[in-house]
């Protein structure tokens, strides 16, 4: 269910009594209904599903989540050298075997 993608608000306007926004999805701009997130502002990101902004994307939370992932290996020292394991996931030949 529920293909929803993050997009950035470029502009907000009222149309036919409905709050609408133009939203940028990586270089593609689409009209999105803001009725469910009326206080969304230009520059903010929202999770958009079938032309509706359904939830504000919390950028600070996203940053913290990625930071948590970055630090995972560090907190798990007893399970081996995280840098060595990370190296196995280089861009060119990702470590298929790593999962087995």
């Amino acid at each position: 269910m529920c293909l929803a993608v993050p997009g950035r608000v470029l502009g907000v306007e009222e149309r036919d009594g409905t709050r609408m926004a133009t939203v940028d999805f990586g270089g593609v701009v689409k009209e999105v209904c803001l009725e469910y997130l009326p206080d969304l502002r230009v520059g903010e990101y929202a999770i958009v599903h079938v032309g509706f902004a359904l939830q504000r994307l919390d950028e600070e939370s996203a940053r913290r989540t990625l930071e948590l992932f970055e630090n995972l290996g560090m907190l798990q020292e007893e399970f081996g050298d995280p840098w060595e394991q990370a190296a196995r996931f280089g861009d060119e030949e990702p470590a298929r075997e790593a999962g087995r």
Partner: protein
Amino acid sequence: MSDAVAAPDLLSWSCPAPLRGRPRVVMGHGGGGALSAELIEQAVLPGLGGAAPGALTDSAVVELDGARLAFSTDSFVVRPLFFPGGSIGDLAVNGTVNDLAMSGARAAYLSCGLILEEGVEIETVGRVAEALGAAARTAGVRVVTGDTKVVEAGHGDGVYVNTSGIGVVPAGVDLRPERVVPGDVVLVSGAIGVHGVAIMSERENLRFETEVESDCAPLGGLVEAMLAVTSDLHVLRDPTRGGLAASLNEIAVASGCGVVVRERAVPVPQPVAGACAMLGLDPMYVANEGKLVAFVPREHADAVLAAMRAHHLGADAAVIGEAVAEHPGMVVARTGLGGTRVVDLPMGEQLPRIC
């Protein structure tokens, strides 16, 4: 009307799906995928008494009085007629020119048939013709014969165009998927999905804004540059409807090889990725009109890639994978994370999805 809402006949009811025996043509039959293939096999070829060898590829290579000619025909029914980066006129010329180029031939002559809908503005017809002429001059091909018909209002989308073309296949050039062997390197001439996204951006009910323009272009010159490196290219395809996935699947099945694609190596421009993320599509299945995919013997791959990159239509060319002996007939993508997935032949038309 009461018929339409009558309860289904539960006595003759069976399992819900097998729709292969569809009594009528559906849009998916024109999608260039599995349904198209079935339609040709089941409804068209029997009437023709089977197909001549090679007759089912983009262009056929035929011998005539000692000359090897590539011969191709294509019909164009695009909506809208004019779209960012091109028009039905550009497509009609380049589509056939490119089909010939995939046989290694430089297009020499084209025919052009116009099917016009009653009521379409004369000015529109003129603009289509202008685009046809300009595209032909760019491609270095002459339109030497043609035909015009008019159908009643409501029986066409304004303008349909058919073009056929012929060109000479140079000696020593033999481009066929059957020649692909394990170890061949797979090259693509540039960013994929651009044409399809440009068209979708103009479609009613999908409408979005993007700077992406169709990549519609004649590939004859690029192919000549590649053949100048070696005449021993194995196969070329222009991945139009059905996208890269359809071309790779066709080659995998015909060659009896497997194909492995490294997903991260496939050039996908940001707006194509964005549009596909938004609509739930896979760039591998989105149409191109000015790109080719080539299977090249490993020893020539570097030189061919360099020649492609030296040509303005191949500046972003890349190695995306290889032919392998494993999983014959199947295309497999290595994902960015190191997993694998099968890239299947598309069924029919690509539709935006919600889940």
